[in-house]
């Protein structure tokens, strides 16, 4: 009976397919739409609760709630900002190579029939919104345990408005970096370098925590961090494979190379610690995983499976030593190591994408260089993309922090409030009552 029904169904599908299509190439693809709907949920899940738990576990008991609240509040405010102007600035139809204009402000003209390629425009816009949410949320790791909530919210909003939305346009919205041929599949420059550099500048401007580098700042709950990290890994499938904007071979390859790079990054970090300190640590393993994921992000649409091994290994090694160097040698309190993991990982991945995309590397071949490009010229474009993102982000972040500092009479809470913890100082409540 069931077989008969199925047969009838496939027969009618066949008949439908045989009817000459009157519609254009903009016909809706149900499969693609379903996958991007799913990916949107996966990427939001990365912030809520993935990243929130990952970060929450890494701070002290007295600050756990403030970190969860910061990530949550960013998700709330950036969503509204996305509706009001963000989508238009990033993906609006303006001819400018630097922004999308304001013609789609408040989603002007977007209705249930609007299409973006072969998926509904609402689905495309929602998917992109979740990237706009996680990027400023990543910066939270730089200023935890000492920022004023009002300053945090104002800064991350302005930062997303002036740094994230335009750079998303430059790379993905038809802007100048995209036109130049920059390979950034899922956000090595747009997400990880912007967040990493934004975090580094913020950490320098706000200054170190009172007891930075002392044992009293150690993570309060690594079980929570492990849980969040595992959610990030799963959510990243939506982040990278969803960036194919289709349920196709590109998505499948992106998903697989993402997974391999995450595993390689984690293993690399474990091995380094094992050799250096005699024991591999859990926090090291999950940090290596995030490094592997951040590094593959820009390259996930270009490299092959064996190439992913190189990407994960490079991300693991370079991000490890970057973390050491920044915290132990330069002594900058980028508290949860956003720059060395995301910023450096994003740069390494964006650079490697220009090489490993080549189809002439034997076993390590990628999906092939675009027509007319050589590895040399592609790497040149990649380096331009990295430099432009780093310079623009650094300058604008610095200026914004000064402006926000002036408006909120200092972005930092008082020493006494810091001692009490941000939970009480910023929110008058506690994460735990035990």
């Amino acid at each position: 009976m069931l077989t008969k029904l199925l047969n009838l169904k496939s027969l009618s599908t066949l008949l439908l397919l045989m009817v000459p299509s009157v519609a254009s190439a903009q016909d809706l693809s149900g499969g693609n739409t379903a996958w991007i709907l799913t990916s949107t949920a996966l990427v939001l899940f990365m912030t809520l609760p993935g990243l929130s738990l990952f970060y929450g576990g890494l701070v002290r008991t007295k600050n756990v709630l403030s970190v969860l609240m910061q990530c949550f509040a960013i998700a709330v405010v950036i969503s509204i900002l996305w509706l009001v102007v963000g989508y238009s600035i990033a993906f609006g139809p303006s001819e400018s190579a630097y922004w999308g204009g304001l013609s789609k402000a408040l989603f002007n003209g977007v209705n249930i029939n609007s299409m973006s390629g072969d998926i509904p425009e609402t689905v495309f816009a929602s998917f992109q919104m979740t990237f706009a949410i996680i990027t400023p949320a990543l910066i939270v790791g730089a200023f935890v345990e000492r920022i004023k909530f009002s300053a945090m919210l104002l800064f991350t909003s302005l930062w997303t408005l002036i740094v994230y939305f335009p750079i998303a346009n430059w790379v993905w919205g038809g802007g100048w970096l995209g036109q130049m041929g920059l390979i950034d599949f899922a956000g090595g420059t747009v997400v990880h370098i912007t967040a990493g550099v934004g975090a580094l500048v913020t950490a320098i401007v706000i200054g170190p925590r009172k007891d930075f580098l002392s044992a009293s700042t150690l993570p309060h709950n690594l079980t929570m961090s492990f849980t969040g990290a595992a959610m990030l890994w799963v959510g990243w499938f939506g982040f990278n494979a969803g960036s194919a904007l289709a349920a196709d071979g590109a998505a499948g390859m992106a998903m697989f190379v993402t997974h391999i790079s995450a595993a390689t990054g984690a293993l690399t970090w474990m091995v380094i610690e094992w050799l250096k300190f005699g024991k591999p640590s859990g926090l090291g393993a999950i940090t290596g995983m995030v490094a592997g994921l951040a590094t593959i992000t820009p390259a996930s649409g270009s490299v092959g499976p064996a190439g992913a091994l190189i990407v994960g290994l490079s991300g693991g090694v370079i991000c490890y030593y970057a973390t050491m160097y920044l915290k132990q040698t330069v002594k900058i309190d980028d508290s949860l190591d956003v720059f060395p993991v995301h910023g450096v990982g994003g740069m390494v991945g964006t650079f490697l994408a220009g090489i490993l995309v080549s189809g002439n590397l034997g076993l390590f071949s990628g999906n092939g260089l675009p027509d007319g490009m050589t590895i040399g010229s592609q790497v040149g474009v990649q380096l331009t993309g990295i430099a432009a993102t780093v310079i623009y982000t650094a300058i604008v972040t610095f200026v914004l922090l000064k402006v926000v500092g002036a408006l909120t009479s200092g972005i930092r809470i008082s020493e006494e409030q810091e001692q009490k913890g941000c939970d009480i100082s910023d929110h008058d409540e506690k994460g735990y009552s035990m």
Partner: protein
């Protein structure tokens, strides 16, 4: 009456409870505490950076006994808590002026 306070390694708590029960000690109080002595602290590794932890987790055991039992109890704790390693802990013995059982109002040795 004496109050015997022992700071011991946490994994020895069960052995001591058994040794003292065998002596007829009918109650004791355990508290999880942190501290350091000659053992000093230890190091922990977070993202490749080593941090010195000054205070180590220990268990504080408090038991009130009548004078005649003091030597046996001290001996039993010493024996049960001894690993021969640095950091086995210490025992403090102090005078106890009065003991009262709240439910019945009994005092002194009767309340132990």
């Amino acid at each position: 009456m004496k109050l015997i306070t022992a700071i011991i390694k946490p994994f020895k708590s069960d052995d001591i409870r058994e040794a003292l029960s065998d002596l007829g000690v009918s109650g004791m109080t355990l508290t999880e505490v942190k501290g350091f002595g000659r053992q000093k602290g230890h190091t922990e590794l977070y993202r490749g950076a080593e941090y010195v932890i000054d205070f180590l987790p220990k268990v504080k055991l408090e038991v009130a006994v009548e004078d005649s039992l003091v030597d046996q109890v001290v001996e039993a704790i010493c024996k049960a808590a001894n690993t021969g390693q640095i950091g086995d802990g210490k025992i403090f013995v102090s005078n106890l002026e009065q003991t009262i059982r709240i439910r019945t109002g009994e005092t002194g040795n009767d309340a132990l």
